[in-house]
């Protein structure tokens, strides 16, 4: 690792140790969204990790970013994952917005004084995202948006919602990306969903009823929205894989410590060969996941042609491996692993959803597999 990346990671570790880890359990139990802590994360440079510098971004590479998110997730997986989604929004506006849009929204997002939410999934359209029905109808210089978005992280707390809405005909080419600022009349939110994990961030429906925003709020060309959404998800997959590895690495380290402390039948668990084998497999899985992820991140930085499949493979493998490692860490803790107090069960609950979101792991297989069997035209 370069000295510079080491310094970045050390700074993140210091932040995660001081601000996240001591609070993770309480935030989970109380379903508390730590907005003040997110502001501090913003001053560290976590609001726009790979956003350009001119409006306050940190301009790191994707390869640096995955190392950053892994380290952050060791402190609190849910908060790290939230920050990664916020980054996807900041990056989208930074990358696809014009100068006026960047100047208006990026500084607040980069500093995390403003939070951003990403609105793609709908109650009736998840994996088949091109089937969304939220509509944006042109009326003079405005769009009038109607529809419901499902599973929106940070909804109700964000300053900015990037909404994928249908401005044209059916299918992927009819979709545009439109920025809806908080407080726009007609914008409202569902209740905070009761979830298995990810309790330190709110998940709500975003309800759009006759929401009127200027056409100037559209990112990129009309009909370019689906492409933007997919590009965003590529990066999102890298980050969520990184958050998974971080959470699982933390659980593994706890388990290693625990097997030294815990004695059964007169000896520490660590002297039991089956335990040692289990730990070896956990470590191997995580290192394999990290290597696959690093490769995908480098491809993203280089703009390689196979970046989509590389990201899909990394996301599928890392989120599966991480969940399994965390779940094994729980098992190694015995009954204590099931107690909230030890933190392991929280990470297991938090990591479970990583196999579902940013494209389910079945969709990841679809991306990889279709690419294998497609025949040249």
């Amino acid at each position: 690792m370069s000295e510079e990346r080491e310094a970045l990671i050390a700074a993140v570790r210091e932040f995660a140790d001081a601000e996240l880890a001591p609070n993770a359990s309480q935030w989970d139990a109380e379903k508390f969204f730590p907005i003040d802590t997110l502001r501090k994360a913003g001053s560290l440079g976590l609001g726009g990790v790979y956003v350009r510098e001119d409006f306050g971004g940190s301009a790191l590479t994707r390869a640096d970013a995955v190392a950053v998110f892994e380290e952050l997730a060791k402190g609190d997986t849910t908060v790290a994952a939230y920050i990664s989604i916020h980054n996807m929004v900041a990056w989208m506006i930074d990358t696809f917005g014009d100068e006026g849009q960047r100047e208006r929204w990026v500084p607040g997002l980069a500093a995390m004084t403003d939070l951003g939410s990403y609105c793609l999934t709908e109650p009736g359209a998840g994996s088949d995202a091109a089937a969304i029905t939220t509509s944006a109808v042109r009326d003079g210089d405005d769009y009038v948006i109607d529809g419901v978005k499902q599973f929106v992280s940070g909804a109700g707390s964000s300053a900015v919602y990037v909404v994928m809405a249908r401005t044209g005909g059916p299918g992927a080419k009819g979709i545009s990306a439109i920025v809806v600022p908080d407080g726009t009349p007609g914008l409202s939110f569902g209740r905070n969903e009761a979830k298995m994990g990810w309790n330190a961030q709110p998940t709500r429906q975003v309800i759009l009823e006759g929401v009127r925003v200027p056409v100037l709020n559209r990112l990129g060309a009309e009909g370019a929205g689906f492409g933007i959404a997919l590009k965003g998800l590529n990066g999102g997959r890298l980050n969520i894989a990184a958050c998974s590895i971080g959470g699982a690495q933390w659980a593994l380290e706890r388990a290693i410590q625990y097997v030294h402390e815990r004695e059964t039948f007169g000896a520490p668990l660590a002297e039991n060969q089956s335990i040692v084998f289990t730990l070896a497999d956990m470590e191997t899985e995580l290192q394999a996941a990290r290597a696959l992820l690093e490769r995908a991140a480098i491809k993203a930085d280089e703009g390689a042609v196979d970046v989509v499949t590389a990201c899909a493979m990394a996301k599928r493998f890392a989120t599966d491996a991480a969940f399994s490692v965390a779940n094994t860490a729980l098992q190694l803790h015995g009954g204590y692993g099931y107690l909230h107090e030890y933190g392991i069960e929280r990470v297991v609950r938090d990591l479970r959803v990583h196999q579902i979101l940013e494209g389910t792991n079945e969709i990841m297989r679809l991306i990889v597999g279709r690419n294998l069997v497609k025949r040249p035209e």
């Binding site: 410590q257 625990y258 402390e261 815990r262 004695e263 107090e341 030890y342 933190g343």
Partner: protein, 328 residues
């Protein structure tokens, strides 16, 4: 000018704001007497100097040099350095002992730099071998014992407060006035002084060098005050077992153990803690562990360096009074 013994050890004594010699005096003179003839230096105005010199002689100073500072100088710490330099020139000592206090370190540091003398700091004991004075250090929280000595010339030594147990026999009072030429080195000015109030703030648990923890054996939140009292007597942080936290004796932020704070202090005192593995995981790397528990089979005794089987409510008050006795 009198001749001074060839094995003179020059000892800088400090006076407190209330006109007595500092508590470190007896240990400094005791250390000096182990390696030579203690010659004390006191910097005080004439109204105080006789009384202070008598205290110094009573604590073992063979001779007492008295320097009177320029009365206008509320200065840091140059007048004392000037006096020490003059005394060293007059006495030609084998070593110069100074308390490792905040004031003492300043004087010793400036003196060593001015006279180009080697310096040994935070010393816990001194001895003499055929080549001269040897300083003993205890480093990394007591994990290592290290000795140091001067290649030649007198060694300046700052002595850790309370580290030397040796005491010197009282001597007849022999006072000598020392003439000091002011160096006029630039100095900071003292504008006002506020005597120390009893500090009420306790150190933070994480990273504390001393920790006193209580368990369910304390019996109630009211009784837990005993833990806090001992902690304050030692300047220690307050810890607790999970059982004490669950019973509501103290907030969860004090919990030491697998799911609480992990501590690695120089001293850990466990009061009424049985020592379940979950607790021990958070404290067994402590350098010294003392345990008090009424159950002789309590697992805490397996890791304790010093364990007492008995009642915390009689043992701890006795310990506190023994400690305050020693402070006096």
């Amino acid at each position: 000018m009198t001749d001074h013994p060839a094995d003179s050890i020059l000892v800088l004594l400090q006076a407190t704001a209330t006109g007595e010699l500092a508590k470190s005096t007896a240990g400094l003179l005791g250390a000096a007497a182990q390696i030579g003839t203690p010659v004390a230096l006191i910097v005080a105005d004439s109204a105080q100097s006789q009384a202070l010199a008598e205290q110094a002689a009573a604590a073992g100073a063979e001779r007492v040099l008295v320097a009177e500072p320029d009365s206008s100088s509320a200065q840091l710490p140059v007048p004392m350095v000037d006096a020490l330099a003059a005394a060293a020139a007059a006495v030609a000592p084998d070593a110069v002992l100074v308390s490792n206090s905040i004031e003492g370190r300043d004087v010793a540091g400036r003196f060593a730099a001015r006279t180009n003398a080697p310096i040994a700091v935070d010393v816990v004991g001194v001895s003499r071998d055929e080549e001269g004075v040897v300083a003993h250090h205890s480093v990394y929280g007591g994990s290592y014992n290290v000795d140091s000595a001067a290649t030649f010339g007198p060694l300046v030594v700052t002595v850790r407060q309370g580290a030397v147990e040796a005491r010197a026999d009282a001597r007849p009072v022999a006072v000598e006035t020392l003439e000091v030429a002011a160096s006029n080195a630039p100095a900071a000015t003292i504008e006002s002084f506020e005597p120390a109030a009893e500090s009420s703030s306790r150190p933070e648990l994480r990273g504390a060098t001393r920790v006193v923890s209580g368990g369910r054996g304390l019996g109630s939140a009211e009784n837990f005050a005993l833990v806090e009292e001992l902690a304050d007597a030692l300047g220690a942080a307050v810890g607790a077992s999970r059982a004490a936290v669950d019973a509501g004796y103290v907030p969860a932020t004090h919990q030491v153990g697998q799911t609480g704070v992990s501590v690695s202090p120089q001293l850990y005192i466990a009061l009424g803690i049985s020592g379940a593995i979950q607790h021990r995981a958070g404290m067994q790397t402590a350098k010294n562990i003392v345990a008090v528990n009424k159950d002789p089979d309590a697992p805490i005794f397996e890791v304790a360096d010093f364990g007492v089987v008995g009642d915390v409510f009689t043992i701890v008050p006795q310990l506190i009074s023994a400690l305050s006795e020693r402070k006096r």
